[in-house]
């Protein structure tokens, strides 16, 4: 099992984001569940004044007809309006890009944002859609049988584990 210094990764991400939003007060939106944990840390580190928002993208997934509903009690909570806002969308792991596609669709059902940037703790490659992150904590390539495990919300811990049963 390999573990990572999440604190240093978050500091680095917060620094990059601050430089991208000098003189602006962006709205930060975390994607349930891991993305909200990462967003909570970034939100605090950046000292944003607008409250943190969260998205539950279950109803926008593209695999409903394959796997049905995901029971999860985390309604989307968007604080204030997204209209014309600069938005930072935060997730834990960027992989196929399908979650981000769903999140973008949901955000646009709340209004027309000014801009959206994507910040992720881990980019593990493997994209199936033309979606890229603007701020990345760490890029990783996983071997067959390896899995990323994020536990949180505090302490937020990231490790690579061997998946069971393969």
């Amino acid at each position: 099992m390999t573990t990572y210094d999440v604190g240093a990764m978050l500091d680095d991400m917060a620094q990059q984001l601050k430089q991208l939003y000098v003189g602006q007060d962006p709205l930060m939106i975390g994607i349930h569940t891991g993305g909200v944990w990462v967003a909570e840390q970034l939100h605090a580190a950046m000292g944003l004044s607008q409250p943190l928002s969260s998205l539950n993208i279950s109803f926008y997934r593209d695999d409903f007809t394959r796997i049905g509903m995901h029971p999860q009690v985390n309604p989307s909570v968007i604080s204030g309006s997204v209209e014309d806002q600069p938005i930072i969308l935060v997730d834990d792991v960027l992989y196929t890009g399908r979650t981000i596609r769903a999140a973008l669709n949901e955000i646009f059902d709340y209004g027309r944002p000014g801009s959206i940037r994507l910040a992720v703790l881990v980019d593990r490659g493997g994209r199936e859609l033309p979606i890229q992150a603007d701020v990345i904590g760490k890029k990783m390539t996983l071997d067959v049988g390896e899995q990323i495990k994020l536990s949180g919300p505090t302490p937020l811990e990231l490790s690579i584990i061997q998946s069971e049963g393969i």
Binding site: N74, P75, S76
Partner: protein, 327 residues
């Protein structure tokens, strides 16, 4: 209770049809309430719609009139992006002599995915579910005196949003228990979810004689029945079902069983007042109570949309999942 052979559930206990609360485990009821909680934020969106049932066809089969239930089902289906067909059967094919099963076969041939059924006969939704092909889910929107499970679930959702937990709650259901499919479903839901005490309050003529088998306490007067309760559910006096000599007069009923501010004072100070609608002002409830600060009657209507969205998407999802063999 055995959940085997229950056509409401798939083999892995997912909601397949929604016909009655009876026979559903607490886990499924909680999953409905949790999913409804997620759907409630859709109303905050500028576009009040999610794409989850895009391309699905839902048929509202109403063999009996209902404005509120049909419109909230329709709105719920539309907010899930499904296509909705509203059929008022009493004035449609059956009056031309077409049999129920022929009507259903035609709707199946139109590639429908779900039937929402309201019928004056108890067991109608169950009958349709048993005779429908495997790709169609059936939701009971009220059958005879038997069940109105989506109404009960939106009531449970309203209670849970207010009090969070069912265990400490004392709930009183007041009115025409005998003819009420709503009361029956509420009683099953409250006992399944673990409410502390469920009471029914009504004159003897409006209470079924075997009601105690459902685990409720029976009262015949408001002051003692309302004493110390957290939730007061007033039922509508169903004038259209009152063809026997059940009551002396509406005025007399209001005097004894109508909820007034004075009577409400017997309940806990923080008690809420619910009513499935439509309300008969001055018959079962005084206007100042119906419109007062403790009434959650309009919240029930709003909550009905999210709860019906949850039930429809869960039933539709379990079928899709089973078909793909991915569960």
């Amino acid at each position: 209770m055995s959940y085997r052979n229950n056509i409401q559930l798939t083999k892995d206990k997912k909601l397949r049809h929604f016909l009655s609360i009876e026979g559903l485990p607490r886990a499924v009821l909680n999953e409905i309430l949790d999913t409804a909680e997620n759907f409630s934020s859709v109303a905050d969106q500028a576009v009040k719609k999610v794409p989850i049932l895009r391309g699905k066809t839902i048929v509202n089969l109403f063999f009996e009139n209902s404005t509120r239930t049909r419109t909230t089902f329709e709105l719920a289906a539309k907010r899930l992006s499904a296509d909705v067909l509203n059929l008022n059967i009493s004035v449609s094919a059956t009056s031309k002599g077409e049999s129920l099963l022929d009507t259903l076969s035609n709707l199946e041939a139109m590639q429908s995915d779900m039937f929402v059924v309201r019928h004056a006969k108890s067991g109608a939704a169950q009958f349709i579910a048993q005779n429908a092909p495997p790709h169609i889910s059936v939701i009971n929107a009220g059958d005879g005196n038997h069940a109105h499970p989506t109404q009960a679930m939106l009531d449970m959702f309203t209670i849970r949003r207010h009090f969070e937990d069912f265990y400490p709650l004392k709930v009183a259901i007041v009115g025409d228990i005998l003819h009420s499919r709503v009361a029956r479903s509420q009683i099953h839901a409250l006992t399944t979810l673990g409410a502390n005490e469920v009471r029914v309050i009504a004159p003897k003529t409006l209470i079924p004689t075997d009601i105690h088998t459902l685990g409720v306490h029976v009262y015949h007067d408001l002051p003692s029945g309302l004493n110390d309760v957290d939730v007061v559910i007033i039922l509508r006096l169903q004038k259209e079902r009152m063809d026997g000599a059940f009551l002396p007069s509406e005025k007399e009923y209001f005097h004894t069983y109508g909820l007034t501010e004075e009577k409400l004072a017997y309940a806990k100070p923080e008690a809420i007042v619910m009513h499935p609608g439509p309300i008969n002002r001055g018959v079962e409830i005084e206007s100042s109570v119906a419109d007062g600060p403790r009434s959650v009657i309009l919240k029930q209507v709003t909550n009905g949309i999210a709860v019906r969205m949850a039930i429809m998407s869960m039933a539709m999802g379990s079928y899709s999942a089973a078909r793909e063999g991915a569960t």
